[in-house]
């Protein structure tokens, strides 16, 4: 899932000092699951903003909405009247949702309330960890199901580097496991350690974001 976190309140409020009618729109998919932009979070942000703006913009009117999935226009259609009636839309969706709103309602100012960070999974309540970098050429079969691109701080394909110590990454030993320790442990468990003897050639980065913004077209699906 996509994982995001609310921007600092001051940063959000800075754009709203002169706004009369604000529409806050949340999303019930990824950002609700990571407790950043769902219905509850929309209500809390609206209240916090009213408090934050009580001196500089006390007459701001805030409308709260939440849609099922903000990245699909069909779900956002229900907002058409609310969007028309407001001055600014504050989207609590991930970056995709924010941009969908901007594309769907191109005459409206749309601001993001979240910092969208990564594709990851929950580890325990309140903790999410990055797992996929969207490189466009999945090699998880070669590394025991542990991704060296997303989980190694240097995206090494022939790791580890000299900074691996006690199973942790030198960049942030408290929070980052050494991906290559994980890969080693996994390959050992599933009896594929010999894979580590093969030299993995330089990656073809052209399938990743480095090759330019991507698009997938399923011709078999397009009518």
């Amino acid at each position: 899932m996509i994982v995001a976190k609310r921007k600092p309140l001051a940063e959000i409020a800075a754009n709203l000092q002169k706004v009369n009618k604000l529409l806050i729109v949340g999303c019930n998919t990824c950002v609700a699951v990571c407790l950043a932009g769902g219905e509850k979070e929309v209500a809390v942000l609206a209240s916090a903003l009213r408090l934050a703006l009580r001196q500089t913009n006390p007459t701001i009117q805030i409308t709260q909405r939440c849609v099922e999935r903000q990245c699909e226009e069909e779900f956002n259609e229900v907002l058409t009247e609310d969007v028309a009636a407001c001055d600014v839309v504050l989207s609590m969706a991930c970056g995709v949702g924010v941009q969908t709103m901007a594309e769907q309602f191109p005459d409206k100012i749309v601001y993001p309330a979240l910092n969208t960070s990564f594709m990851g999974r929950p580890l325990e309540r309140g903790v999410w960890s990055e797992r996929c970098a969207g490189c466009g050429n999945c090699v998880l079969d070669k590394f025991g199901g542990v991704c060296p691109i997303a989980r190694c701080s240097k995206n090494l394909l022939n790791g580890p580097c000299g900074g691996s110590a006690n199973g942790k990454c030198e960049v942030d030993p408290e929070n980052i496991d050494c991906a290559w320790q994980l890969i080693y442990d996994r390959l050992k468990r599933i009896g594929q350690l010999d894979r580590l003897l093969e030299i993995e050639p330089p990656k073809d980065w052209s399938t990743s974001r480095h090759g330019g913004p991507r698009k997938i077209v399923r011709e078999d699906m397009v009518l």
Partner: protein, 140 residues
């Protein structure tokens, strides 16, 4: 007497609520500037309750929940404490000083402690500067 700021208490019915009943049966009452909001358990507390209290005019909010081990939902009190920390951080971001939101563990047998906490619930520096005035108010 100086005017007291509006304080909202948000308390768990099983601990704070019972303590409040104790107070009333002892022919005492909460001071006039204090409003009481009951919640079924600390586990039902949301930041929104706290923020809305401030929006509705409260200048200070005190959250009360059971002691560890006493919560009927086992961890409801811990949840409440976490929500209070989160709300405090958000309030600070909104320009409202963190001391204005307090959290206390409470047992049903502690109505007098509750009164004392309310009395002592003020900005830290002020409490130190004016020890005499609190004596005067107690006598009056």
């Amino acid at each position: 007497m100086p005017e007291r700021p509006k304080i909202v208490l948000i308390g768990c019915a099983h601990s704070a609520g019972v303590a409040l009943e104790e107070l009333k049966s002892g022919a005492q009452r909460l001071p006039a500037h204090v409003e009481w909001v009951s919640i079924p358990c600390g586990g039902t507390l949301d930041e929104l309750h706290i923020l809305r209290a401030f929006e509705s005019g409260a200048e200070q909010v005190m959250v009360l929940a059971c002691y560890d081990g006493a919560c009927r939902s086992v961890e409801g009190n811990k949840w409440a404490e976490k929500r209070v920390s989160a709300a405090r951080a958000l309030l600070e971001e909104a320009g409202i000083a963190g001391w204005r939101l307090a959290f206390h563990h409470i047992a049903p047998s502690m109505p007098l402690d509750l009164l004392r906490w309310i009395e002592e619930f003020r900005e830290p520096a002020v409490a130190q500067e004016q020890p005499e005035s609190s004596d005067r108010e107690a006598k009056a």
